[in-house]
Amino acid sequence: MPKWFTPLALLCGAMFAVSPLIIANAPYESTMGLVQKIFYYHMPSAWMFLLGAIVCGIASARYLATGDDRHDRTALSAAELTVLFGLLTLVTGPLWARRAWGTFWVWDARVTSSLVGWLVSCAYLILRKYGGPGSERLAAALALFGMANVPFIYISVNYWRTIHPPTTVVPTLQFSMGFPLMFCVAAFLLLFILLMTMHKRLEEGRRRLDALHLAFDE
């Protein structure tokens, strides 16, 4: 692991430990009350989910274009993180919605698009695991299609009524709410980078292991 890993990991852990206190001190929202505080974990999770999907898509495109294994490893790591943060988003969202909108699930634009995008990233991992040899390129093609699909999914689902708070909420936040949000975003982003680093280390280790096995069998 690189030198900066341990200090940053400690910092990240500390930030997560402190975040509930900062969130508890944030003011309540006037119409949604206590449950709106899920927002401070839900929103960063959603952003990391999107970030993971973008990183995976770009790495997949570069892998298909150049054939360099490093891009493939990046894509795989990013896909795992996309599934993880997507799961966090899709669970915290309905828990918030149950109170704020009265129902666990609605088929509105952003929720449905997120679900479909999450399914594509799950399909990526399933393909990598069960597709047999050569599935790296197939999975990269899938990631590319998934990424190209995002505007279409969003537009087509947007026909349905959307009651999700629009993204214009974030810039209008006052400091008392904006600071906890940015703090949590920083914590999540740091975690994302740390997890990507760990995962890439894992993949590099696996490559070395395969090479060693081959050398061993000679």
Binding site: L64, A123, F145
Partner: protein, 228 residues
């Protein structure tokens, strides 16, 4: 597109049509599978002898998705068994011609299926799908093209993969969600009592945009992924 490209595509399409005309295996199995699907849907949603409002378009597109997946799998299984896909890729034709040739074959098969399914759904689910046949044809064609564009690519990619039969739907369905949505919504705009041209045109435009983007993307990806 050079004449050689067009000629190569036509030769591939004609080969598929000839083989299919002789055995009719894929056509019949897909057709009967689609009809069984309709039956399953009927038993699932018909209440007290009447189909619910707006069920027809949903059932039509769901059946097309399932039957289309089957047809894709069978088409490429046939190529795999006879090692003809490798032969096609080794032949001195542009790779893209192989993709387009297979795509035309799959689309023609599915369109023939839709010619039978649409009247059946109209009959069984009391949905006046045939009230505006030209619009219906436009939406079905563009939707089928979008579905088949992605499906042909994925099915070709998976030909040598393990668990290919289970993996094709897992990969395909999330990616063709926009086509499904646009197809169902466009078809339901057609059967609405007051036909709103703007809505139908919107969904048709979305389907056309999807087709353009994904056929282009598939052409590029096919070259890269099938090059070994």
């Amino acid at each position: 597109m050079t004449p050689r490209f067009g000629a190569a595509v036509w030769r591939i399409v004609r080969k598929d049509w000839t083989v299919e005309a002789r055995s009719r295996e894929i056509a019949y199995t897909t057709l009967f599978f689609a009809v069984s699907c309709l039956l399953v849907f009927a038993f699932a949603i018909v209440r007290e002898g009447k189909a619910p409002e707006g069920a027809g378009e949903g059932v039509l597109w769901a059946t097309l998705t399932f039957a289309g997946t089957l047809a894709l799998g069978r088409t490429f299984e046939r190529e795999r068994q006879n090692e003809t896909l490798r032969a096609l890729l080794l032949a001195p034709v542009p790779r893209a011609a192989v993709y387009v040739g297979k795509l035309v074959g799959v689309v023609s098969l599915l369109l023939a299926l839709e010619l039978i399914l649409a009247p059946l759904v109209t009959l069984l689910f009391a949905a006046p799908l045939l009230s505006r046949p030209l619009w219906l044809l436009a939406i079905l064609t563009t939707g089928t093209l979008g579905f088949a564009a992605v499906g042909t690519l994925f099915a070709a990619m998976l030909v040598r993969a393990r668990s290919r039969d289970a993996l094709l739907p897992v990969l395909l369905y999330p990616v063709v969600v926009p086509v499904l949505i646009a197809g169902v919504r466009g078809t339901s705009a057609l059967v609405a009592p007051e036909f709103d041209v703007a809505i139908a045109r919107f969904w048709l435009a979305l389907l056309v945009a999807f087709d353009a983007v994904f056929v282009t993307l598939a052409l590029w990806t096919f070259e890269l992924v099938m090059s070994d």
